[in-house]
Amino acid sequence: MKEYLLETKNITKQYGSFKAVDDVSVHIEKGAIYGFIGRNGAGKTTFLKMISGLASKNSGSIELFGNKINSLSDIHGRIGCLIEEPGLYQNMSAYENIKIKCMLFGLDKSSYIEDLLKTVGLDKTGHKKVKKFSLGMKQRLGIALALIGEPDLLVLDEPINGLDPQGIAEIRDTILKLRDERNMTVLISSHILEELSKIATDYGIIHHGSLIKELTKEELLSKCNERIEIVLDNPLEALPVLDKMGFNNYKVVDSTRIQVYERLSESYMINRELVMSNINVKEIFVITEELEEYFLNLTGGAANV
């Protein structure tokens, strides 16, 4: 049986009759970078707030190292978080912002603060006022704040939101550095699967408050492997043919394309049957699906974005 650093069992958060998070069970192994994927409003932030002790749950349980967390207070110090945009005192320097939280932990030695700034690459700008920081620098400072007290789990909510490519790369490097140097377990949420796929080792996909899939990087890559793409004038004409051939897992993606997700070696047979039914096939080929597309398919298609 696998041992998890963090495990949630059917946790639910309800606001009136609306379930923001519905029966979510995630399993995060030590040392993993767990990508928590979902569209905007899927319930990611609410879930992460419950994990981080910022919000209470209506039902379910959270276990950290196999120990059940019964109240918010039990989480004390074990989970560092950066939820939504970083909460910082704009008129203070990065050093002072870190010092404030360090005081709470009784860790306000100058060397400790300098180390944290170095870890997130802000050692040269630590005494600059935060209001003069770029968003990327603020995010990294937020990560430094989350690292105070050496938490077992680092929770990052959409840390790359609104960042330029350089900022995204800096955050990615910081997370990888934390994993490599501190063996840090990271739970990171995003709606940009492509970016997450560069660092995550495991994934949880949340949609409308429910966890619809939990899979490893290998599983995800295999899921995203291949499909048959058919390009033709009128896809609707082809559907009876596919049905007759026993294909069930296919989708009309637009006015000229059908995607078939099963029996990928039978593309030639599809082609033959369509031609025999007097349907003009412009193109038919097997391709690899992009991660982003896989995610969209799982959560109801691009039309719902």
Binding site: G53, L72, I75, H76, I83, G87, M92, M103
Partner: protein, 279 residues
């Protein structure tokens, strides 16, 4: 808890607003002392003037400061302090800072960095309360210091007044003003809105609640409670009505009202803060 207080005090002493409010307060003390001198120079003093004691019948809307001279026709620091504090001139500055300080961690979002990592959320409220107690003491003494300085520079003399009365009055006003700040702090924490909290706090300083208190008094009168006045049992009322060298009974009442308001406000604040999600 000690670490949290240390953290809050660091935050307090590193916030610009503390110093800006302190400087504005000092400037206005000098200004009002200057105006006082001009007024005393312009008009003949009337012999029948007494310290302008406020009672439940003349706690009015708005803010007005009356300074009375002593028998020698000079203004003592005690009289000046009494006039400013009972008119809630001091409280006005204190509540502005209290709102800024109490909501700073919410408005900046910094609370998200720490709220999940403490054993018991009630220490957030308790720590702020301790910090505000220190702030109240510092502010009252800053106010007194500036007032003494203003008397020395503008009036050309410093007469403290009866030291025993001064110590007693200052101590009681520290307690009453502190209780007032606790109420304002809890309002700010519950509302999580700087502007609305600030408006409420300033309105309280301007005795806006007197309208409500009078209505309640009238209602009580109708049901046969003729001698009861609500304003006497409120913090803002006690700040206005506390007399220099007042009776022991009145002083005890001031202490009791302060303690009750502090305990009740803290209880409500802790209850709400513990129940509420951090957003």
């Amino acid at each position: 808890m000690f670490n949290m207080v240390k953290m809050d005090l660091y935050r307090m002493f590193n916030s610009k607003s503390l110093y800006i409010i302190g400087i504005i307060m000092a400037c206005l003390i000098f200004l009002t002392t200057g105006l006082l001198k001009m007024e005393f120079d312009s008009y003949e003093r009337k012999s029948d003037k007494q310290i302008h004691a406020v009672n439940e019948d003349n706690v009015n809307l708005g803010m007005s400061v009356f300074v009375e001279p002593d028998e020698d026709g000079e203004v003592t620091v005690l009289n000046d302090f009494f006039a400013n504090v009972s008119a809630k001139f001091l409280a006005l500055f204190l509540v502005i800072f209290t709102v800024i300080f109490s909501t700073a961690d919410y408005t900046s979002g910094y609370i998200k960095n720490i709220a999940g990592q403490v054993n018991d959320r009630s220490i957030f409220i308790l720590s702020k309360a301790v910090s505000l107690f220190i702030y109240t003491i510092i502010s009252v003494f800053w106010f007194l210091f500036i007032q003494i300085l203003a008397h020395l520079i503008i009036l050309g003399y410093v007469k403290l007044g009866d030291i025993r009365d001064l110590v007693s009055y200052v101590s009681l006003q520290i307690l009453l003003n502190y209780a007032f700040l606790i109420i304002v702090m809890i309002i700010s924490i519950i509302l999580r809105n700087n502007l609305i909290s600030m408006i409420i706090a300033i309105c309280l300083c301007m005795n806006v609640m007197v309208i409500l208190y009078n209505a309640i008094d009238k209602l009580l009168e109708k049901i046969g409670l003729d001698n009861f006045t609500v304003v006497k049992c409120t913090i803002t009322g006690r700040i206005s009505m506390l007399e220099v060298g007042g009776s022991v009974r009145e002083n005890i009442l001031s202490i009791a009202v302060s303690v009750i308001f502090i305990i009740v406000s803290m209880f409500i604040g802790i209850f709400v803060f513990k129940k509420r999600d951090i957003v």
